[in-house]
Symmetry: C3
Subunit: 258 residues, 3 copies
């Protein structure tokens, strides 16, 4: 297994500096604002189209689609189905965030599994989510995994192989694998788990980096690097979880600013 | 009437430090992000499941349920009905936040009244909301009460007695009553009323503290203490309402951090 | 064309200091929290009622209604239709924010055009949105305009004349026109375009200022001045986009605080 750092992420980040990928996110209402601001910070252009009436046409305009099944409700489920089908049929990359899939959340879990037949480019979840999606026993509590990334690595590799996609297990360590090659990204800060939407934002940033090139493995790893770095920045520049969340977005701000 | 301070709240807060109650919130889309971050700050694990298809099973997994009728729409109303019924039948505590109930908002108001038959553990509102729910004449403007906590105290006691629950009137002074015993919590800062979701967050934190023990009176009062303290911290550490909101979450951060 | 500065905005801002207009916003779920906090910052009272079951009665209680078609979904569309019709029939001002209207988003775009028959007091959009609404060729990418305010000025004047309303094109320069008289507001900061909801918040603040008097031209221009000023404040008091968003709300905080 290889580590993956800032220098490895450089080509993707430099592409982001020059382009402004349009990333459409179908995500839960808890994290919409944070996700949009995270995408803007790294230099992407976010949109949040989700109505069945306009999602298919817009998916063709967007560079990538990000699907998060957190707090799923019927009207968003319909929008997601249409978006993912359109993306698949038109060769547009889409990211699956199986937020909180588990035994006790059957509705979103069975839906997340159905979506696999439209072949996401990248699947990003915590250890329990990836294990559950891969059909293994998993242990979670609401949105929190009770398993470590290490415990999920085998499941991640199997899922990546089966789906011919990149699977990311994020946590204290992030693992990024296509089943054959695996990167490990260390760093970050434990407080990241105590800001809502950090995982959703990481998935969304993968939507942006996936547009950079069609090596989704390095695209996903670059997103992990950027987020880990932002977490470290935030830990040094905050006095509690409110200023941590704000500083996390500061840390994500890639410098088109000056 | 007794005052209630940090030393009285200590057993509840110390329980929160050691446990991580899973609190499911069915709340309006304005405050979802702030509410989730407030719960994380005090050491709880938030979830925002609201779909009819998964709410009953998840309510059994969650330690408490928080219902806020702000910006109510049909699909959330259905989710709330199922959540509250499941919570009631299974002896799980649930909190009612009758956000902006009034003559001019009949839909949410009649619904909030119907919910009373499932016996919330705690009802938390501003003076006008509590007076309206108790069947008294109340005076409000949108989400703002035009009455003081003192004017609502009698109504709060009656409602608590009728419902056999704890009623909290929050405002410049917070009153927490079970109809027989009443606590008063002073402090905070007037700017708290100028950050959206502060009331919703207070109700959500009561969902967390209600898991600590089955003395809901002290659980609710402890939540008020924590929020008043955060408001004072924020007033000292902000330069306007944006940094005030951020500092409020800093002030809520109970120290699992270091 | 005239410039419009703080001294010109003074009567409106001084009215805002003394009154607390109740502004009901039917807006997308991405920006609801930011919009509510922006309204609170300038001294207004926000509400976000959108259910068909309560919107008509509440529109009569609110001083102004703000409609944003961003991330439109069916249930909000129904609420908007009823709100706008009630506002129109009862002489209450309402603001139209045609967020991201374009060829590729037909659902919201045709709806925004239908709404014109209920005569908004103010229409506020970026250059591409105003050009599209006026029936001209426009160029956009998701929520971003690829045209400048200057390119949209002619369309804005035509639209204002046709609709007998005030049209605002916001961007690097803001133009505010009733078709005959036009104000230009300079300033702000480019980072404002990289915080989600800044445009939505500007439209919402126009809902508040439109209550001050029935000269909607100066009311809209005053809102632009306040937002440009906040952007400049934020640029001086931030280290990235997270602290910029927070400082933007600080900059909007009109001093009822001390």
């Amino acid at each position: 297994m290889k580590s993956f750092g800032f220098e490895d992420a450089a080509p993707v980040l430099s592409w982001l500096q020059k382009n402004t990928p349009l990333v459409n996110c179908l995500t839960n209402n808890v994290s919409k604002n944070f996700v949009a601001n995270a995408l803007l910070a790294v230099g992407a252009s976010p949109s949040m189209v989700e109505a069945s009436a306009e999602i298919s046409a817009f998916t063709l305009v967007a560079d990538a689609t990000v699907v998060n099944v957190g707090s799923l409700v019927d009207y968003r489920l319909r929008g997601i189905s249409m978006a993912v089908q359109t993306a698949h049929e038109n060769g547009k990359p889409w990211i699956l965030d199986p937020a909180a899939v588990s035994e006790s959340l059957f509705y979103r879990s069975s839906f997340a599994r159905e979506l696999l037949r439209y072949y996401p480019a990248i699947i990003r979840g915590n250890a329990a989510e990836i294990m559950f999606l891969a059909g293994e026993k998993s242990s979670s509590r609401g949105a929190d995994s009770l398993s470590s990334s290490d415990e999920a690595l085998r499941a991640a590799k199997l899922l990546a192989g089966d789906q011919n996609c990149v699977v990311v297990v994020s946590g204290k360590k992030d693992y990024v694998t296509n089943g054959k090659e695996t990167f490990c990204i260390m760093g970050g800060d434990p407080k990241m788990a105590r800001v809502t939407g950090t995982g959703c934002a990481l998935s969304a940033i993968m939507g942006a980096t996936a547009c950079a090139q069609y090596d989704f493995l390095r695209a996903a790893a670059a997103a992990c690097v950027v987020m880990k770095h932002a977490g470290e920045y935030a830990a040094l520049n905050s006095r509690g979880l409110g200023s941590f969340a704000s500083a996390l977005l500061d840390g994500l701000t890639i410098d088109k600013l000056s």
